[in-house]
Every structure is written in structure tokens, then in C-alpha cells.
Amino acid sequence: MCAAPLGSLIPTTFSSTLIQPNAPQVVELESMLQVLLGESEEVRHLGAIYRNENSFDKQRFLRSLLPAFKVGPESLLEELLERMTRDFERDNLAVIEGWVLSKTEAELCASL
């Protein structure tokens, strides 16, 4: 796995144009997720269904990931995978058109 610093993973255009002065890190995180996953029609499809069927606070979800995000992408990744595993173990699930997903997965899709 690449241990490159976060800045090298994020295209300059995103990091320079989308950062908001009042919540720069949240916007930076959102931009990174867009780059990583936003191209995927499938992920957006699942996210749209989840948003339609659930009340979803995107800002709250993104803020909850900030501590890990500040450390770096590996830490963010570990946080996401840990949450997914925990979700499955604790029955914190989202069923989208029959597919059983962890709530974290569903919220990640819905945040795009």
C-alpha cells in the first residue's frame, strides 16, 4: 500500500478550488472522497437510494471521519474498514435493494 502523503493524492484543482474557509478540512475530505469514489455510477446509485430512504447528515458523517483524515489516508482507510467490520458485527446495517451493507458503507456512498 502506498504511504504517500495526503497532498500528493489529491489533485491540485480540487484542493485549491473547493476548500471552504469555515470548514476547510471537511471540504478537503469530501473532495478526496469524490476523487476516489465519485466517478463510480454504482457507488452513487447506492448512495442515492440510501439518501432517499434515510435521514442522512452528510456534514456530521464527514466530520466524524476528520480525526482519522488528519492523520493521513492510511488512517482514514483503517477507520473506515474498522467501522464497517464493527457495523456488521453489531447489526448496524443498511439494506439497499436487498444488499446488506454496513451503515458506514451506505453513508460513504451517500456522501458523494
Binding site: 500500500m1 500528493s8 444488499w99 451493507l101
Partner: protein
């Protein structure tokens, strides 16, 4: 030796030590076990050595409950019985299957699994199986392609073992049976009545007839009824000259509690995270290559906590995905893309960075989509039963009427298992599960008509429970030794004595019980 019915003098009364009615797995096993003691044994087989229309037609009957296989096909009337069409799926019942479970009505055997273990071990020899050992370390030794999935949570892998080709009882031992001086197998010899004496406490003889009209009688010290879970109650109910409600039926239990193993095929999908290393163990085809198949089953803890029955699922590469083009544009493809894009996040972080540098996109890895098939225990249910039809067969015996009935607990067992397998696959990172069964059936649903997503639910050709075993005559047709309550010399063998059914296929357990009954007859009855 083998004897054709027509070779017996008409209306003659034969006299033997043991008369076994039915030449299937149970009947042949008992004959071979008793032969060691030099007993004079008659096995009455209704058919011949092969399928014959006239004989098979005697098994025809009505289906008035949940749709079922035609009885003319479900009850093989020929030497070997239904072992002529079985696949050798073998696995002992679990310890919990023998327990009285407060959430499973009418559950509990007169003995525990440990009591049956020595008989299971001997049954393995009869079925040409490997040692009586179902540990992964034993059955999967040296088979790396059959590794066990690292399941998490409250589901676990359990194994079946097989012998290929499957043992065909009577045929595989034909030489031994032909040479035997103490066993005579009478072919085309259908029992039309079990005749009790005037007290109803002893069987004096059975009436035998062939389709050609030949008739004779067999008198014995002991009679063993071993014609399967549909024909056993049929014969008892039809033998009603002395006991008007049928033999052994004082408590109206004969024919009740019919159980199958409900099979729900191709309901549920699994998208495996890693197609390359996904093990073949859970594919039912591995029985042919490896003589072993794995099922994913609820743990005892899960069964106790969720109050569900025992069950299993197997996973075969889907035929639906490749067969229907529209699904490639549906959610299956969505999930495949999703797993490519999300579940492999570690690689993606790296790939995305590289993408910006090289301008190339790494192709998505191939995904493996698996169909989920469920085989499960059935709730014991007195309304699920075998009755006598108003129609009679060519020999004048009322035909069987099968009313197979399911209840809410049967439905909830499948859906609960599916949800827990979904959780396990997610937690272990080995895939995602698509639920396709309708949920939320109440447990107190006493007559569940499986429609919608359950359309096509079927049995496994396993007929159990219709002469159930219980020490209390008010709760069972036979006692713990498989003797019919209230009758001194009539025993029942086969899966019709099972009080509960597990999810495991019945043959190994019924052969073990047949060996146990043989021991009992030798030690306590034929002395």
C-alpha cells in the same frame, strides 16, 4: 436368496423369525445385521430389481398440502427403495437436534447424540464412507482448494461426506444376499394388511399380494415395518380390522408430523470479494470431485438466541446472472462495481494516485456471484400429515394422501440464517449478501402457504416423522426402541420414527437407527 412372489405357493403361510416389510436402506440393513445370528429372515419387497410401472403405480397418491413431488416418483417401490435415487449426502444430526428445545414444538428424542455415535460409526461402514469423523482437519486434509471460509459471528461451516457412486441397498450386497441361507428376499411382495390378533396387542401375520394377483401370508415372531415415511403410516392406517383407527393409532398420531427438509433454491445472492481465492467447498458440485461439501449453518448459540431451527446454505456460481442479460445491468452489476470501487479501498488509494500519473485505469477484477440455496429442518407439526385417500390401488389398499404443511417458524429460520450469513460475510470482508426472501412471517403462523419469493420451495425426497418416536404413548407411535406402543411384536424402522429432522439428510441416521434396532432385537427380543 431372492424369491419371486409367484414362486410361493398361493395362500401359503410362511413362518419366519423376523419379517421385514420393505427392502430399502433400513430393511436391508436390519436383515444383514440379523443374519450374523443365523436368524430366519424374510424381506418383503413390493417391487422387483428395477423400476416397473405396475409396481410403482401402487405408490401413487394424492397431494393436498404444499405442492410436492408426485408420490409415484417419491416412493421407489423396488429393491433398494429410495437409495436408488439418492446422492449419498451423509452427515450425523447435531447434538442440539436431539434436545428438547422450548422454541421447537414437540422436539426432543428419547436419547442424545452420544448414545447414537457408535451406531453412526457402524452405519459409516454400511454406507462405504470414510471414518465417522466430520472434523475439517480430517475431511479437508490435503484439499487446499476446499479451505473453510473465515466466517465471523454466529454461523459456522459444517461438512457432509459422500461415497460415489452412492450405495444402492440390496444391489450392492446382491452377492451376499444371494448366497445367504438365512435371508430370503421376496420380490413383488406387497403387504396389503398387517393382521393383529383379537387383542390388538400382537401381530399374527401379514397379507402379501403381487400385482399379478398372487397372494400369501407371512407369520413371524417379530415384524419390522420399513417402507418409508409415507408408506409406513399408510399400511398402519389401512390395517384397521381390529384397531379401527389403524394399528398403533390409538392417540391419532400415525401419519401426523410429516416432515421434509424444505429446500429453497436460488433465493439470495452472494458477491464474493475475491473471486480468485474463493473456495469450492460450498459448491454442491464438490461432492463429485472431492466427496465433501460444506454448508454454512447457524451456530447452536444463534439457534437458541433467535429461537430458530437448524439449517444450512450452500453457494453455487449463479446460473441466473449469466442466463439473464438484464441482470448484468441491474443491481448485481452495481454491487460488482461497488465492491471493485469501495471494498478494495487500500488498493484504490494507490491506484487513484497512479491513475493521475499514468492516465491508465486498472481493469476491475472479475467478481464471483453465487446463488444461495437453503436446506433446513422443518417444524414438527401435527397438521402436516399422511392420510388415507378415498382412492384405492390395484391391490385394494387405500392410497396415501400427503398434506405437507409448513408454519411461520420454517420461514423465519431461513430469513434469520440469511441475515446472519450476510453479517458474517461483511464482517469477515469476504463478500456481500443480497436478501431475496420475504421476511416478517410471525412464528404463530400455523399454516404458511409459501408464495412469492418462496415459490418453488420443495423437499429433498426425505419423508420423516409420521410414526414418531417418544417414550410416552400419548406423544409417539413408537417407543425409544422403535416398538409400536401397545403392540408386542411390531417395530418400525426408517426416518418415519424421527421426532425432529435436523437439516442433515436422513439416510445416515436411519441406517444408524436400523443397526441399533437390530442390536435390540438380537439382545432383548429374539433370545
Amino acid at each position: 436368496m431372492f424369491v419371486e412372489a409367484r414362486e410361493v405357493e398361493s395362500n401359503k403361510e410362511l413362518s419366519v423369525d423376523v419379517c421385514i416389510i420393505g427392502g430399502g436402506a433400513a430393511g436391508i440393513t436390519i436383515a444383514l445385521e440379523l443374519e450374523k445370528e443365523g436368524r430366519n429372515i424374510a424381506v418383503l419387497e413390493g417391487g422387483g430389481l428395477d423400476v416397473e410401472g405396475e409396481s410403482q403405480n401402487l405408490s401413487h397418491g394424492d397431494i393436498t398440502g404444499v405442492p410436492y413431488f408426485p408420490l409415484i416418483a417419491a416412493c421407489q417401490r423396488r429393491l433398494g427403495g429410495n437409495t436408488n435415487m439418492w446422492g449419498s449426502w451423509c452427515r450425523p444430526f447435531d447434538e442440539i437436534d436431539f434436545e428438547k428445545r422450548d422454541w421447537v414444538p414437540y422436539s426432543g428424542w428419547p436419547f442424545d447424540r452420544k448414545h447414537l455415535d457408535p451406531y453412526y460409526s457402524r452405519a459409516h461402514k454400511r454406507l462405504k464412507l470414510r471414518d465417522f469423523n466430520y472434523e475439517e482437519s480430517y475431511l479437508l486434509e490435503g484439499k487446499s482448494e476446499l479451505r473453510v471460509l473465515p466466517l465471523k459471528g454466529e454461523v459456522k461451516t459444517k461438512l457432509w461426506q459422500f461415497h460415489k457412486p452412492p450405495v444402492r441397498f440390496g444391489h450392492d450386497q446382491k452377492e451376499e444376499l444371494t448366497k445367504s441361507s438365512s435371508i430370503k428376499i421376496y420380490l413383488h411382495s406387497n403387504v396389503t394388511e398387517i393382521e393383529a390378533d383379537e387383542t390388538g396387542e400382537n401381530i399374527s401375520r401379514v397379507h402379501v399380494a403381487s400385482v399379478g394377483g398372487h397372494k400369501y401370508f407371512v407369520k413371524a415372531k417379530v415384524f419390522v415395518l420399513a417402507t418409508g415415511g409415507i408408506q409406513n403410516p399408510r399400511i398402519l392406517l389401512a390395517s384397521n380390522k381390529v384397531q379401527k383407527q389403524g394399528l398403533g393409532n390409538q392417540q391419532d398420531l400415525v401419519g401426523r408430523f410429516f416432515m421434509e427438509h424444505p429446500h429453497i433454491h436460488r433465493r439470495g445472492l452472494v458477491m464474493a470479494t475475491d473471486a480468485q481465492t474463493y473456495p469450492a467447498l460450498y459448491n454442491t458440485d464438490s461432492q463429485y470431485n472431492h466427496q465433501v461439501v460444506g454448508g454454512i449453518c447457524p451456530s447452536e448459540e444463534l439457534q437458541r438466541r433467535e429461537k430458530i431451527l437448524n439449517a444450512s446454505i450452500t453457494l453455487n456460481p449463479t446460473i441466473r446472472y449469466s442466463a439473464h442479460a438484464e441482470m448484468s445491468e441491474g443491481l448485481v452489476d452495481t454491487m460488482s462495481g461497488y465492491l471493485s470501487d469501495l471494498a478494495d479501498l487500500p488498493g484504490k488509494l494507490y491506484e487513484k494516485a497512479k491513475l493521475k500519473i499514468t492516465g491508465k485505469r486498472t481493469p476491475r477484477a472479475p467478481r464471483l456471484v453465487l446463488d444461495v440455496s437453503t436446506r433446513q429442518e422443518q417444524t414438527p407439526n401435527p397438521d402436516s400429515r399422511v392420510l388415507l385417500s378415498t382412492e384405492k390401488d390395484a391391490l385394494g389398499v387405500p392410497r396415501a394422501n400427503l398434506q405437507w404443511k409448513l408454519v411461520g417458524l420454517d420461514a423465519r429460520t431461513a430469513t434469520t440464517l440469511h441475515r446472519n450469513v450476510a453479517k458474517s460475510f461483511g464482517a469477515a470482508g469476504i463478500g456481500r449478501f443480497k436478501l431475496e426472501l420475504e421476511e416478517n412471517y410471525p412464528d404463530d403462523l400455523s399454516n404458511w402457504d409459501p408464495k412469492g419469493s418462496y415459490e418453488g420451495i420443495e423437499g429433498g425426497w426425505h419423508h420423516m416423522g409420521t410414526t414418531r418416536m417418544h417414550e410416552d404413548p400419548k406423544q409417539g407411535v413408537v417407543d425409544g426402541e422403535c416398538k409400536v406402543h401397545g403392540i408386542n411384536n411390531l417395530y418400525v424402522a426408517g426416518s418415519s420414527v424421527f421426532p425432529t429432522s435436523s437439516f442433515a439428510n436422513p439416510t445416515l441416521t436411519l441406517v444408524a437407527l436400523a443397526i441399533r434396532l437390530s442390536d435390540h432385537l438380537q439382545k432383548a427380543v429374539l433370545v
